[in-house]
């Protein structure tokens, strides 16, 4: 195992742990306002200081990790559970109308960046964490469909697949038995990367008010709140920003480490 994998894994585990612990314990109630002790810089009582309402930032960061992870994880789940079967089907029917339809559909979805999807959804249904999940999730579908199809296509040319066809197995069975296990590593690595991108996207959507709504805490909205105060209370912006960076960095390092560990020849789209 590489240094990347250990370091990245540890950072990601730490964030996950913080999110898990926040369900049972936080230093303070993350919604409790305490105006007299507002805008404190980090100290012994409030480890990461307080915001303009006197809320404990450390507690908010812990609970915010929950939102970030939940949104990104479900969005990756949506992308994988729809995108991977589509990619497998397209590769199995390479060159015919189904492949063409799936790939054209993918191109179309690629023309709607997740923020644009979020804008559309928000314009119709209003803002919220669920809509953010759908927006990021829809955008993940073509990512997984494409990478699955690409890897599966080259596998379909391999002789062990021909041998399986000679053994009379149909496309669905070959996809499940031979193709999927051989693209699994690739999907794990891509999943890690999409997970980190999902965290960034969730933060961005929450920052512009299209994501999680109050009182659900979120790193992106903490940054939006901090913006007007950045000149006299920069820690309000520094702390959630650092939380995002460390989480994403950890996931990316873990992705790189996983890729090297599982198969150095894996091709992963990093966009």
């Amino acid at each position: 195992m590489s240094r990347n994998l250990i370091l990245g894994g540890a950072m990601s585990a730490l964030v996950l742990l913080a999110a898990a612990v926040s369900f049972v314990w936080t230093p303070f109630d993350h919604t409790a306002m305490d105006i007299p002790s507002k805008l404190q810089t980090p100290n012994v009582i409030h480890w990461l200081g307080t915001d303009h309402f006197g809320r404990d930032i450390f507690s908010m960061i812990m609970v915010g990790a929950r939102t970030s992870i939940a949104v990104a994880l479900v969005a990756v789940g949506i992308g994988m559970s729809i995108g991977v079967p589509l990619g497998l089907a397209a590769a199995a029917r390479s060159g015919n109308w189904l492949d063409e339809l799936i790939m054209r559909g993918n191109d179309l979805v690629f023309a709607f960046p997740s923020l644009v999807i979020a804008i559309l959804i928000t314009a119709i249904f209003g803002a919220g964490a669920v809509n953010a999940i759908i927006a990021i999730g829809i955008f993940n579908i073509p990512v997984f469909a494409r990478i699955t199809r690409g890897a599966a296509l080259s596998l379909w040319q391999r002789e062990f697949i021909l041998a399986a066809r000679v053994a009379g197995k149909n496309a669905a069975r070959i996809s499940a038995e031979h193709i999927l296990p051989n693209v699994a590593n690739l999907l794990i690595v891509q999943g890690t990367i999409q997970f980190s991108l999902g965290i960034l996207a969730e933060a961005g959507l929450s920052y512009v008010g299209l994501g999680a709504q109050p009182p659900t805490p979120s790193w992106g909205r903490m940054l939006a709140d901090a913006q007007t105060m950045v000149s006299f209370a920069p820690h309000l912006a520094l702390i959630p920003g650092t939380a995002i960076i460390l989480t994403v960095l950890g996931l990316n390092l873990m992705g790189d480490g996983l890729r090297d560990w599982l198969d150095p020849k894996l091709r992963v789209a990093r966009t």
Binding site: R158, L162, A163, R165, A167, G168, P181
Partner: protein
């Protein structure tokens, strides 16, 4: 005075020794062939002369060209030598050229990078060089891109680049391995001609002993990074000192004895088979064009018969193979196996009668499954696949039959060598006792010694299992010994068929004649040489 002089060259990458005390020399106008099986270090020797070794490689010894020790030159001095004093031709013409630059630019680059001529003169010279290697300006202007040329034509461009500045030494690393026999013969003739014309020394790396015997003035045989034997071609062929050399030559010309074929009773009947591929539309609304890969092919394969199918790349033999396997549909005619039709949607019963062994011992297996699961994949076709101890026994029996151990069932494929993998592929084809096995270039990727063993195995299996097979190959020598009857395919059609010996000794069709004439042959070394 020799041109290239290698004395006690030792090369290691990290802890592993690649070359041990290699010594050889090449004189001006001389062709020296370095031969050996994979892992012998022959290609590394070539790269060492070019000083284009992998980054961590450590070389010691003497490696001198015209008295200059290449191991002591700076990178800058080496750049000045490469392309000007030493030229090199590589194995894969399809990838050796930059796809986004014209062939003219690439040939001119050799001249311009050494500032040998002003650009206008270089342009003219590049054109002359392309003419010299057989690419006339009217058909192959400098503005052509590599993808517009065939493999043989690309190899000519690579040669033109290598000889543009008339280097003293030309290194050719398996220059014809990726080419068809007729193209190979032309390229070899060109190289021989250039050596005479320019007085160059040629260091030729090849695994093909027939090519070696045909072309070389002197031969160097390598194994595991060491030179086991070297000498003039005639002297070495007449009197081989080292057992490895003898084994190598014997294995290259390995003959097997097949049991006699039973009385003809049709098993596979191909009747007027036609296979078209759709081409991209030529205009936006026009009908898509077709390319006819298999054109009205008919033949019969009898039960117990060993039939060969030979032809050069692109002749349609792979397409025909896939159609027989029921992997691709026919656009005309029919294929009957045991009286029943073959097609995309054939029944499991029909599929069970046929299995296949592919070329690539590394791509034929799912790397995530164990050997027992790999070879029992065809059980999928059985109504009642054996289970429990019956399954175990059958796996053990089949593995033993192909010369492996029953314990190998629990191993993964990466634990086996190329030859062992081909044995596992044969086990997979054999385990359901099919009526017919297709061997699709099944021994083409193997070293000669391993190939000889696999051919022996096939002959043995013919005796114990009364195999019927279709053996598809471009290698005429192999087909000659392992089949009873042979089909010759060209441009989608079968141009000649008949008993193998008869076709090889007195070919009727002009194409078969040219094919056999182009194939380099090993000199007859007498029966006594066969010790493999």
């Amino acid at each position: 005075m020799s041109l290239l002089n290698i004395q006690n060259l030792t090369l290691s990458i990290g802890d592993s020794a690649i070359l041990k005390d290699v010594s050889l020399s090449v004189a001006p106008g001389e062709i020296v062939a370095v031969t050996g099986e994979s892992g012998s270090g022959k290609s590394m020797t070539a790269l060492a002369v070019m000083q284009l070794l992998p980054e961590l490689a450590q070389a010691n010894g003497t490696l001198s060209l015209d008295g200059i020790n290449l191991l002591e030159q700076s990178e800058e001095q080496l750049c000045a030598l490469r392309g000007a004093s030493i030229g090199m031709v590589f194995q894969e013409p399809m990838t050796a050229l930059n796809p986004v630059k014209t062939i003219g630019d690439q040939v001119m680059e050799t001249i311009l990078i050494h500032k040998a001529m002003p650009p206008a003169r270089a342009r003219q010279h590049a054109q002359e060089m392309l003419e010299r290697v057989g690419l006339p300006a009217d058909r192959f202007p400098l503005s052509r891109f590599p993808h517009e040329l065939s493999g043989g034509q690309r190899q000519r461009v690579v040669i033109a680049m290598a000889i543009a500045l008339r280097p003293k030494l030309l290194i050719a690393d398996e220059p014809t391995t990726a080419l068809d026999v007729t193209t190979q013969a032309q390229i070899l003739a060109l190289l021989k001609d250039l050596v005479q014309d320019f007085g160059m020394g040629l260091l030729m790396i090849t695994h093909d002993l027939a090519v070696v015997a045909d072309l070389a003035d002197r031969i160097v045989v390598m194994r595991h990074g060491e030179v086991v034997e070297s000498g003039t071609t005639q002297g070495l062929l007449a009197n081989m000192q080292h057992p490895y050399t003898r084994m190598l030559f014997a294995a290259s010309n390995h003959q097997v004895a097949l049991p006699p074929a039973p009385a003809p009773k049709p098993l596979l009947q191909v009747k007027g088979a036609v296979r078209d591929y759709r081409l991209p539309r030529q205009s936006l609304f026009g009908a898509p064009g077709h390319y006819r890969a298999v054109q009205d092919v008919s033949f019969t394969l009898n039960r117990g018969e060993r039939l060969g199918l030979v032809g050069e790349s692109g002749c349609g033999k792979s397409t025909l193979t896939r159609a027989i396997l029921g992997l691709e549909p026919l656009q005309g005619g029919e294929i009957l196996l045991d009286g029943g039709p073959i097609g995309i949607n054939q029944s499991a019963e029909q599929r069970r009668k046929m299995q296949v062994v592919f070329q690539d011992p590394f791509g034929s297996f799912n790397p995530r499954h164990r050997v027992d699961r790999l070879i029992t994949e065809p059980f999928h076709l059985l109504d009642k696949p054996p289970t429990g101890s019956a399954r175990r026994d059958l796996i053990a029996e089949t593995l033993t039959a192909v010369g492996l151990s029953p314990d190998d069932a629990a191993k993964f494929i990466h634990q086996f060598s190329g030859g062992q993998r081909q044995r596992i592929a044969i086990a997979r084809a054999l385990i359901t006792r099919p009526e017919l096995i297709l061997f699709d270039e099944a021994v083409s990727a193997l070293d000669v010694s391993v190939r000889a063993q696999i051919l022996d195995l096939l002959a043995e299996l013919c005796k114990s299992y009364a195999l019927t097979y279709l053996f598809i190959s471009h290698d005429l020598n192999v087909v000659r010994t392992i089949t009873d009857r042979v089909l010759v395919m060209k441009a989608g059609e079968i141009v000649e068929q008949g008993a193998t010996e008869a076709v090889f000794t007195s070919p009727k069709h002009a194409y078969t004649q040219s094919l056999l004439a182009a194939a380099p042959v090993l000199p007859d070394l007498g029966k006594g040489a066969d010790v493999a």
